[in-house]
């Protein structure tokens, strides 16, 4: 099909103003939050399931790949266009279709921004638990595709634990509902199999998600430690004690310094690590848990503790953690954010290894991460204008991932495999393992035209067309 006819066909479906195809306009859609890029033939902005279905059916007839796209905040290149593909941006489909407070669920469109859901149901005393740090921008559809996590997933689980049912457009344009508004019905757990499929099994056009009641009481504690090792030990102590914090977040020396320099936050200059711990529940439970957490942190050598229960005071405690990524921007023009995960008892060992990688490669590495579930986010600082630095940074990232796998961890805790890590998949999975995953995909998307080239090794991958990862400003509500 000639490009002109294709564009006309797309315009007939979504309307003339909702197809972008001029090369200059396409530039903005070459990227996501990751380091890769690619150019689509066109980007379309459907406004309904039927339009999505028609666009997908047209592409299928013509043998053209399609790439779903939410807000483009993905960090592994999942939404990067395959060559010659049609990118389907779901950002116009952002309505909350139904809130069922009695059954604590909502039916939403895929382009809805994560935080907007929690904000809208707040008056009913409810919220949507998975809270990726990008929640001010990322979409529910993107969250479903990546099975996104967030700081509070420590207690409440990640996206897959909160999705009940999905309306999905399959590669031939057919529209199908999978799952039910409740769990326990007959048949395979298709929703469970679909969540985390990185846009490669179908396009989510509606999602039924669980909502949780807002807790009666919340307490945030900040513990400052002279050394990172002590903070890591405190994490293990708290987890091992039987307490169930909702979040446990850590910042290392370099991040603290960056935050101090940028925001003058008042952390001790010589602090080795800061741990943020949150507990929630009914008041009696919260004060009991908070007291235990404090005692355990002190026992592990915390030099200073602050606590808050009132919302604005808690927000102040979180501010340093949330501003860390932005603050790191002041230390270097570029950063490469690595996402690895290890058993939490291995944190200490792996963080030491990260330190060695930093020394060996000569790049400073800051650690700001979800310590409670062992999800590391080493942030490698560099300047891409320096010749040869970029490939060395990627290699250092690879070293860290290998270290994670060596101690029984995995390649990604929440950002997905996408283009970024597909070449590393054989570190963790055999060909047979990957084949089983492909079978699952083929059940949903046999032709392979749905977001091709991601997750599985082979074909172009990360590093080709590496671009400087621009620092996301903290005032956009973005942090990691």
């Amino acid at each position: 099909m000639k490009k002109k006819r294709l564009i006309e066909g797309l315009q007939r479906i979504v309307g003339k103003g909702y197809v972008i195809h001029h090369p200059d306009d396409l530039l903005a859609y070459e990227y996501d939050g990751s380091v890769d890029r690619g150019t689509a033939t066109a980007v379309v902005f459907p406004s309904s399931t039927v339009q999505v279905s028609q666009v997908v059916a047209l592409a299928h007839r013509e043998g053209i790949p399609v790439v779903p796209r939410g807000a483009g905040t993905g960090l592994s290149g999942g939404a990067i266009a395959a060559e010659g593909s049609i990118q389907i941006a779901l950002t116009r489909m952002r309505s909350i279709l139904e809130v069922d407070a009695a059954n604590r669920l909502a039916v939403v469109e895929p382009g809805l921004v994560n935080l907007d859901l929690s904000t809208s149901v707040a008056p009913q005393g409810l919220y949507y638990a998975p809270d990726p740090s990008s929640q001010g921008a990322c979409t529910i559809g993107g969250n479903v595709a990546e099975n996104s996590g967030g700081p509070h997933c420590l207690r409440y689980g990640v996206t897959t634990n909160h999705v009940l049912a999905l309306e999905v457009v399959l590669e031939d344009g057919s529209i199908v509902w999978i799952g039910d508004r409740y769990r326990g019905g007959p048949g395979y757990d298709l929703v469970g199999a679909f969540v985390g499929s990185e846009g490669m099994m179908g396009i989510v056009t509606k999602a039924v998600v669980r909502l949780l009641p807002r807790p009666e009481s919340v307490s945030t504690l900040m513990a400052v430690f002279p050394e990172m090792d002590q903070a890591s030990a405190a994490v293990s102590r708290v987890i091992g004690s039987g307490l169930l914090p909702t979040a446990m977040e850590m910042m290392d020396r370099l991040s603290i310094k960056a935050v101090e320099t940028a925001m003058g936050y008042g952390y001790p200059q010589n602090a080795g690590a800061v741990l943020l711990i949150e507990v929630d529940g009914i008041e009696e439970e919260v004060s009991e848990s908070a007291a235990s957490v404090k005692a355990l942190c002190r026992a592990e050598g915390a030099s200073e503790m602050r606590a808050a229960t009132e919302a604005s005071a808690r927000a102040r405690l979180w501010a340093g953690r949330k501003g860390a990524l932005g603050a790191l921007g002041a230390l270097a023009p570029n950063y490469y954010l690595v996402d690895g995960v290890v058993p939490r008892t291995q944190l200490l060992q792996v963080l030491r290894r990260v330190g060695e990688v930093s020394q060996g490669s000569g790049f400073p590495i800051a650690n700001v991460f979800h310590a409670g579930d062992g999800n590391l986010h080493p942030c490698i600082l560099f300047d891409e204008r320096q010749a040869g630095h970029t490939p060395r940074v990627l290699a250092a990232g690879g070293e860290i991932l290998k270290a994670c796998v060596e101690v029984g961890g995995a390649l990604t805790g929440e950002h997905g495999v996408g283009l970024e890590k597909k070449a590393y998949m054989p570190l963790l999975f055999t060909n047979a393992d990957l084949e089983a995953m492909l079978r699952l995909r083929r059940a949903f998307a046999p032709s392979g035209l749905m977001n091709p080239g991601k997750v599985f090794p082979g074909g172009p991958s990360c590093g080709e067309g590496f671009r400087p990862a621009s620092v996301v400003k903290a005032d956009q509500g973005m942090w990691v």
């Binding site: 990640v158 848990s289 579930d373 029984g408 699952l440």
Partner: protein
């Protein structure tokens, strides 16, 4: 798709070329391994993954129909198989429990009994917060394949929320893994989810890794007596909406249509059981909150249960309808949105009164589940069972819910679609089955839509 079955002797001989004698059950044992009355031609009892893979590969090559078996506790679940050539029993498989207390994770072989796992976890003050039927007998593999969750799923979710990794043998004997041993992981597709509740139709689960939880410091049960089921369910919703909500809450309507010695119809009793699990400091207030709400919601009598009685009650509730002592009968699980459980269970109650069916009802208002068990051999009659199941399905449809027959005596069971309509996703489910088990050797006919 199925190749012409080999003769029994040939089948056993072929197995004997691959497996040591102790891994093949004697011919005299076949009846013991029957699945819903369908007697297999041979039973393989592999003691290693290699042996298991070899047996599977042979079956797949020959097109023999394979039924996988754990302890056999829940073999009744699922449709009557169209035929069984080979039963693959996992009871001799290595039973390693690899517990990492500091990580709150455990990796455990499919042949391990849930009770053994709980005992090992308990030593470190942890548990897997599940209470499926017959927890004392069933194996991990059986538990994952049947995915029958109990009252605790109200607070802790289902197995799907606890499994973090899985190793599975495909019908060709090839072993694959997904996930891992970390609590947060998006490396690769979540194939493991497809196997949970798949009744062994997509592969043989060999091993699974789980997130576990600390054992709660306090475990208290309140019992409240109500005049009517409707009243008890209304009270349940009051409790569940409160910050002090219990971790498990079930309502029981016991002994419907039973006559006393003089032949008078007895009133069924209606009890609400609320189980509060959690920390020491909060328990006093939570108990007070729950008791007050129950009294306000017109409970006739509210009191805490002694810990031994409470333990027995929750076991009874979990085993409801499955307890071998209850004998055979018709056990149906119905489900819908929590807000409609009242309407659904009222419908079931009215139906039972109208039809004079004896039996009991256990309702999980927060879980959106109502289970009805009607004991007796009358349910072996196809018409009687069929009519009741149809009526229950009608009630479920009225609330956009489902009704799954968990148990039904033979021969009636063979005439029933035990699963009912799984909805819009059936075509995808068939495609998944074709991808994972292309020759259709794993448990054919026992799953939804005849899969």
């Amino acid at each position: 798709m199925r190749a012409k079955a080999t003769s029994t002797i040939a089948l056993r001989e072929r197995l004997a070329t691959l497996l040591p004698p102790e891994a093949i059950a004697p011919a005299s044992d076949m009846a013991r391994y029957a699945v819903d009355g369908v007697v297999p031609q041979a039973v393989a009892l592999p003691a290693s993954v290699e042996q298991l893979s070899a047996a599977l590969r042979l079956a797949n090559d020959q097109g023999w129909v394979v039924a996988v078996r754990g302890s056999g506790a829940l073999m009744e679940y699922g449709g009557v198989p169209k035929g069984v050539d080979l039963v693959l029993g996992l009871e001799r498989m290595a039973s390693a429990i690899d517990h990492a207390p500091g990580d709150l994770t455990v990796t455990v072989g499919a042949g391990v009994r849930l009770a053994a796992l709980q005992e090992a976890l308990g030593k470190a003050g942890q548990w897997l917060p599940v209470d499926p039927p017959l927890a004392g007998r069933q194996t991990m593999g059986g538990m994952l394949a049947t995915n029958l969750s109990g009252p605790l799923s109200l607070a802790y979710g289902g197995l799907r929320d606890m499994v973090i990794g899985m190793r599975v043998a495909g019908p060709d004997g090839v072993v694959t893994k997904s996930g891992g041993k970390v609590v947060k992981n998006v490396t690769g597709f979540d194939v493991g989810k497809a196997h949970i509740g798949a009744l062994g139709t997509l592969g043989v689960v060999l091993e699974a890794s789980f997130k576990v939880a600390p054992l709660p410091k306090k475990d208290v049960t309140l019992v409240a007596l109500f005049d009517s089921l409707a009243q008890a369910i209304k009270a349940s919703h009051e409790l569940l909406a409160h910050p002090s909500a219990p971790q498990a809450l079930e309502v029981v309507l016991m002994g419907m249509n039973r006559r006393d010695d003089e032949g008078r119809m007895r009133q069924p009793t209606c009890n609400l059981y609320a189980r509060l699990l959690g920390s020491e400091g909060a328990m006093e207030r939570r108990l007070a909150d729950c008791s007050r709400l129950l009294v306000q919601s017109r409970a006739v009598n509210v009191q805490p249960a002694g810990s031994q009685a409470a333990g027995q009650t929750w076991e009874w509730l979990a085993d409801f309808g499955w307890d071998p002592q209850a004998g055979s009968g018709l056990l149906v699980r119905l489900g819908c949105l929590p807000s409609q459980v009242g309407e659904l269970s009222q419908g079931i109650e009215e139906m039972m009164l109208r039809e004079l069916h004896q039996g009991s009802l256990v309702v999980g208002p927060g879980r959106g589940v109502a289970k009805v068990f009607m004991p007796g051999l009358k349910w072996a009659d196809a018409d009687t069972a069929g009519t009741a199941v149809e009526a229950l399905r009608g009630l479920a449809a009225g609330v956009q819910g489902y009704a799954v027959v968990e148990r039904c005596p033979l021969p009636a069971k063979a005439t029933l679609d035990v699963w009912g309509n799984p909805g819009d996703g059936l075509a995808l489910m068939r495609r998944l089955k074709e991808q994972m088990d292309p020759r259709g050797v794993l448990n054919p006919g026992r799953y939804v839509g005849g899969i």
